[in-house]
C-alpha cells in the first residue's frame, strides 16, 4: 500500500528539497527557477500535459498551494474523481504531491 509511505521512506535529498520548498513558500522569496533541480525535475513530469498557456488540462502555475495540495491529495485518496489524475496521483507520495503544490504555487502564471 502506497498510503503507508511516510517521511521515513523519503530520500535524504528529496527531504531536503521539500524542506526548502516549504521554507521558501512560507517566506515567499524563492522564484521557481531558483528551486532545487530535483523539485524542478519532479514538476517537469507534470509539464508534459500541464502548460502555463493552455486551458486543458488546467494550468497549475500561480494557483494557491492549499488548493493544489488539496486536489492532489484528493485524487490520491480517491475522494476526487477525474480521468487520468486519480491514477497518476497514486504514483506519487504525499510529500511529493505537497512539494509539487508548493512549486506550482510559486511558478509564474502567464
Amino acid at each position: 500500500m502506497r498510503a503507508s509511505v511516510g517521511v521515513h521512506n523519503l530520500s535524504g535529498s528529496l527531504y531536503r528539497t521539500i524542506v526548502i520548498v516549504i521554507a521558501s513558500s512560507t517566506l515567499g522569496a524563492t522564484a521557481p527557477d531558483a528551486q532545487p533541480l530535483d523539485v524542478r525535475a519532479l514538476a517537469a513530469g507534470c509539464a508534459t500535459c500541464h502548460r502555463p498557456t493552455t486551458s486543458v488540462p488546467a494550468p497549475l502555475a500561480g494557483k494557491s498551494r492549499e488548493m493544489l495540495a488539496t486536489k492532489l491529495r484528493g485524487y490520491r485518496n480517491g475522494s476526487l474523481h477525474g480521468t487520468v489524475m486519480p491514477q497518476i496521483a497514486k504514483g506519487y507520495t504525499i510529500e511529493e504531491l505537497d512539494a509539487l503544490a508548493g512549486y506550482f504555487a510559486q511558478a509564474r502564471a502567464r
Binding site: 500500500m1 502506497r2 523519503l10 530520500s11 535524504g12 535529498s13 528529496l14 531536503r16 528539497t17 526548502i20 521558501s24 517566506l27 522569496a29 524563492t30 522564484a31 527557477d33 531558483a34 532545487p36 533541480l37 530535483d38 524542478r40 525535475a41 519532479l42 517537469a44 513530469g45 509539464a47 508534459t48 500535459c49 500541464h50 502548460r51 498557456t53 493552455t54 486543458v56 488540462p57 480521468t83 487520468v84 486519480p86 491514477q87 497518476i88 496521483a89 497514486k90 504514483g91 506519487y92 511529493e96
Partner: protein, 428 residues
C-alpha cells in the same frame, strides 16, 4: 543537493530578495567555468525534450546542440488519424525554430558515427561535434532482412511501415485512398516489444473508420505476430465487434516471413497465406542505427541497456540513451510520453554529473497514452513508474495503473490537448 547550496540560499535569503536576482545557483553550473558541451542526437519526443530541459536547467554553464536530420518534427501519436483522413500531416508537424530561442543549437544533419573514446559525433555533412556528455535518442530502425521480399527500396515503399510518421504516413494514406471499395487492408504487427503497444490496434480502428464512411465493402485484417492483443484488449475488441462489425478481423500468431510484391501475398511462420490490396508491414525493429555505432546496443542486438537513475549506457560511459531505443523496465511502454519523461530525468542527471553533484536518487516517470477509436472518441492508458533503489530499475506502481472503461469524447478532447501540450513542452 549539497549542503553548500543550502547554506548559500539561506545566506541570500537573509540578505533579502534583491540578492536573489543575481543568484548563480539559478543555473545548474557556475557561469565562470568553461561551458560544458551536451550533444543530443535525435529530435523526437525524447531528444528534443532532453535538449530543451538541459538548456533550461543548465543555463549559462552548458552549450546544448541537438542533431536532427529532418527539417520538422512529425508526431507518431495522432498519425493514425492522418491515415483515416480526419487530420492532415500538417496538423501533426511542428518546426524546430523555437528551440533556438531556448539556447538549443539545432543542427539539421545526420549523425553517422560516434567515437566514445574521443567523445566526438561525426556528421554526414558538418564538422565533428565534441561532447562532454552525449544524449542519444535515436528512435528505431527496422530489421527489413527478417522478412523476405523487403530487400529493395521499391518493396519497402510498396509495403510501407508508416511506423515513423512522415512521408510513409502520406504514402500509406494515398494507397488507402486509391484502393477499390471491397478491397482488403492488411496490417502486420511484429512480436513485442515494439514501439507503442496500442498503436497498431488504433490504426486498425482508424482505417476501419475511413472504410465505414468511404468504402463500406472493404475489410481491415489485423495479422498479429503476438498471441493476443498487446494493449487495452477489452476496449479494442469491443470497437471491432461493435463500431466496426464486419469490417475488422483479428488473427493472432501471424508472424510474417515473406511478402510477394507480384501477387501481394503475405506468408507466415505457421498461418495461412493472405492476399491483400494494401499491405502495411511493421517489421521487427530495434534501437536506431547510430546506437550501434556508439556501441550501446547491448540487449539481444536490439535495445540499449541503461542505468535507470541516469539513463547512462551500462556499457559506454558518457552516453545516455532514452526513448524507444532502450531496453525498458518491466511494464514501461515504448511511447512518446514516456520518452519525454526519460528526457527530463536524463537532462537532470547529465547536469548533475557535469557539476559533480549527486543525482536525484528517486526519479518518478508518468505515462499517459490515448488511442482514438474514431475521429473524436478516444480512450486512455496510464501508469506511474518509480525508481527502486534495491532493484535498480523503475517499478510500475500497482495502484497507479488504469485504462478507460470505454471510449469517450472527453478522452478525445484530452488527447488533442495532450498533443498540443507535449509538443509545446518539447519544442516551444
Amino acid at each position: 543537493m549539497t549542503i553548500p547550496v543550502l547554506g548559500r540560499r539561506r545566506a541570500l535569503r537573509a540578505m533579502g530578495t534583491a540578492a536573489l536576482v543575481a543568484l548563480p545557483g539559478s543555473s545548474a553550473m557556475p557561469a565562470s567555468r568553461t561551458k560544458r558541451r551536451i550533444v543530443v542526437i535525435g529530435g523526437g519526443y525524447g531528444g528534443a525534450t532532453a535538449a530543451r530541459y538541459a538548456a533550461l536547467w543548465g543555463g549559462d554553464g552548458v552549450h546544448v546542440t541537438l542533431v536532427e536530420r529532418d527539417d520538422a518534427f512529425v508526431s507518431c501519436p495522432l498519425s493514425n488519424l492522418v491515415l483515416a483522413g480526419s487530420r492532415t500531416i500538417a496538423d501533426i508537424t511542428v518546426g524546430y525554430a523555437a528551440l533556438a530561442q531556448r539556447r538549443v543549437q539545432v543542427v539539421h544533419d545526420s549523425a553517422v558515427a560516434v567515437d566514445p573514446e574521443r567523445r566526438l559525433v561525426r556528421l554526414a555533412h558538418g564538422d565533428d561535434l565534441r561532447y562532454d556528455r552525449l544524449i542519444l535518442s535515436p528512435g528505431i530502425d527496422f530489421f527489413f532482412d527478417r522478412i523476405a521480399g523487403l530487400d529493395t527500396r521499391d518493396a519497402r515503399e510498396r509495403f510501407p511501415h508508416a511506423w515513423r510518421a512522415g512521408p510513409q504516413t502520406v504514402s500509406l494514406r494515398r494507397q488507402l485512398e486509391a484502393m477499390r471499395d471491397g478491397g482488403v487492408f492488411a496490417i502486420s504487427i511484429p512480436r513485442a516489444p515494439y514501439r507503442c503497444p496500442p498503436a497498431p490496434y488504433e490504426r486498425a480502428c482508424q482505417v476501419a473508420w475511413y472504410f465505414k464512411r468511404a468504402k463500406p465493402k472493404s475489410k481491415v485484417l489485423i495479422l498479429d505476430g503476438n498471441e493476443d492483443v498487446q494493449s487495452e484488449k477489452a476496449l479494442f475488441t469491443k470497437a471491432w465487434s461493435d463500431d466496426y462489425r464486419g469490417i475488422v478481423e483479428y488473427r493472432p500468431d501471424c508472424v510474417l516471413t515473406e511478402v510477394d510484391a507480384a501477387t501481394r501475398t503475405m506468408r507466415f511462420e505457421v498461418a495461412e497465406d493472405v492476399t491483400a490490396d494494401v499491405i502495411n508491414v511493421i517489421p521487427p525493429h530495434g534501437a536506431g542505427d547510430i546506437a550501434r555505432s556508439a556501441g550501446v546496443v547491448t540487449a539481444n542486438g536490439r535495445w540499449c541497456e541503461v542505468h535507470f537513475l541516469t539513463f547512462e549506457s551500462v556499457k559506454v560511459p558518457g552516453i545516455h540513451v532514452l526513448g524507444d531505443a532502450i531496453q525498458v523496465a518491466p511494464l514501461m511502454p515504448k511511447s512518446g510520453h514516456m520518452a519525454n519523461q526519460h528526457g527530463k530525468v536524463a537532462a537532470a542527471a547529465v547536469l548533475a554529473a557535469l557539476a559533480g553533484r549527486p543525482v536525484n536518487p528517486s526519479p518518478v516517470l508518468n505515462n499517459v497514452c490515448y488511442s482514438f477509436i474514431d475521429d473524436r472518441e478516444a480512450a486512455h492508458i496510464v501508469s506511474v513508474h518509480r525508481y527502486d533503489a534495491t532493484q535498480q530499475t523503475f517499478v510500475s506502481v500497482p495502484d497507479a495503473r488504469g485504462v478507460s472503461e470505454e471510449k469517450s469524447a472527453l478522452d478525445g478532447d484530452y488527447a488533442f490537448a495532450w498533443a498540443r501540450a507535449i509538443w509545446q513542452d518539447m519544442l516551444s
